[in-house]
Symmetry: C2
Subunit: 105 residues, 2 copies
């Protein structure tokens, strides 16, 4: 599986998406501060964190008995790169659509 596919797969779960969003908004957080993103058990959250880590979306640093998680900007950049690689197709299509809508006036 290509890296990007794994990245998308990791984001394709509501709980993991919520974890990433919170980390994007609040910055680095210990696992304990992520327990309430969904109404599931701590082990379940821990497993989601592992999936995100293995997909390269988040990094883990150890501080005493705490594990601090943060989004890895490189993963976000790889998504952005893919979008830019295909920008010519989808962005142009939107421009043409906007132009078509304009002409309807």
């Amino acid at each position: 599986m290509s890296d990007l596919v794994q990245t998308f797969a990791a984001l394709g779960d509501a709980t993991r998406f919520a974890i990433v969003e919170r980390l994007l908004i609040r910055g680095a957080l210990p696992a304990g501060d992520l327990l309430d993103v969904a109404d599931i058990s701590a082990p379940a959250i821990s497993r989601h964190l592992k999936v995100l880590r293995e997909a390269g979306l988040i990094t883990q640093t150890v501080d005493k008995q705490r594990r601090i998680y943060a989004v890895d900007p490189a993963a976000m950049q790889s998504i952005e790169k893919w979008m830019l690689d295909h920008e010519a197709f989808w962005k142009g299509s939107l421009d043409r659509l906007a132009a078509a809508l304009d002409r309807e006036d």
Copy 2:
């Protein structure tokens, strides 16, 4: 499940990702021109197309007995919007990293 999560989930499969990539590069194609993106049966491809359609990533138009598929630019744009919404965090982090690397010279 939020629309965006469903979009990511749809892209988080190697076969479906390959279908979307081909459609981005070549533009609209009939189902038959997508059969060889993976070494699986036609029914399997058909099911993947259905998942992509239900996620809003591709559109289907009927032409005689052919079904023509194309990427929906709106789906791509919703991904791009999410990236931009959080750009301040991850893009800034990369800038800071680049600056730090520059200072190492």
